[in-house]
Symmetry: C2
Subunit: 232 residues, 2 copies
């Protein structure tokens, strides 16, 4: 029997026009769109973005709950059977595409889903997307790395020590998921004279977008700091 | 007088379908496409990719020579007057788009061009693209970073010490422009037991594409290594 293919699709960082031609093509031919939602009855930011650039009207939508909580073991959750409807769809030969913000290979739940399905023997493909730090750097018209400079990407969630270590010696540093960490990140950057070398990106591509000097409020999960050290 | 806008456009890492919807739209409305070429009479990989996905037939093409040599000071070269035709076009109100492989913010010459034009007072915009390491990770169906892992991106050109330092302590490491460095990179990875955790990406999206275990030959400028340390 013909088996379906699971596509993990990066839709870019907030702006529908940042979607790739392949992401649009794959989503428009999919039978089922899997959308990660943060709470029951909630909406998927990734789906909303995709729906603005691609015609998703013919596809069935399948929500899967992924609470945005630190220390949440998504792999464990996925093994609990939440993927059963996805497996059933693939078994019946249907094409299933899961949307994810940014790029699939950068902190994405779709990456775990794909891996578990591949382990079960399903055919999978990954459709790359523009990661949020690239989308943000474009909007801020800044380079992330030049010449022989390095680029380090760190999530601020439960890793203050890692951020402090990175600030000891770096060329360019991107701190992702910085929202809740701003309370200690801001004083740290001020102390090290790095505030004027830092650009804050919040909700890139969304109506609440902010690009500019770092500030504490309002809180957003999608907060990224670009810190330039190359010229220091 | 109306002045044109300069767009630095990332076209993705080799596959035309990796271009974003905005890159296609901007290139199709541009009056002039600036293409970086590695030698006189040479071709531009970025232009070839863009031309497969976007209709560029109405745009004038303007080649600018950027020799791919280490220690080449592109900024100095750009200040020498090579941008004069671009400035003239912008002064006459024409829209100018420069194509670049991957993303504009990641080791791109277009980023220097944009910066110099902005310094001269021209309006500029950056159109983000899928960087080569994301395109490669997608093809290899690997994640670059998960959970609280960090990601470090390093160019191998003239920075063996930096690579060795990074290998001392890392979660995930991407070594770009690794082609000529493979002669010392391969023994180094073997010595540290990292060969089996390394995926080599060469000419991603091009006919000569290779994704698999690291190997020495043939040499390509577009060689990237993905090294996973998170599970070690």
């Amino acid at each position: 029997m013909k088996q379906g293919i699971f596509y993990a699709v990066g839709v870019g960082a907030g702006d529908p026009m940042d979607m790739t031609l392949r992401a649009k093509a794959v989503l428009e031919q999919a039978d089922i769109i899997v959308t990660p939602i943060p709470k029951a009855g909630g909406t998927s930011a990734a789906y909303a973005i995709a729906a603005q650039a691609a015609d998703l009207s013919h596809a069935e939508r399948l929500d899967i709950l992924f609470p945005m909580q630190a220390h949440n073991d998504y792999r464990e959750r996925l093994r609990s059977g939440v993927l059963q409807p996805v497996c059933a769809a693939l078994d019946s030969g249907r094409q299933v595409a899961m949307v994810t913000l940014g790029d699939v290979s950068v902190y994405s739940t779709a990456s775990y889903v794909r891996q578990l399905l591949a382990e079960k023997g399903y055919a999978t493909q990954v459709i790359a997307g523009v990661p949020s730090f690239c989308a943000g750097a474009a909007k801020a018209q800044q380079s992330l790395c030049e010449n022989s400079e390095s680029l380090q990407i760190l999530p601020a969630v439960h890793s203050r020590e890692a951020v402090e270590t990175a600030l000891e010696q770096f060329d360019n540093l991107v701190v992702m998921k910085a929202g809740r960490a701003m309370a200690w990140l801001l004083p740290l950057l001020r102390e090290r004279g790095l505030l004027e070398h830092t650009t804050m990106l919040r909700d890139v591509g969304m109506p609440s977008e902010y690009i500019g000097k770092p500030e504490l409020e309002p809180y957003s999960y999608f907060t990224t700091l670009l810190i330039k050290g190359g010229d220091l």
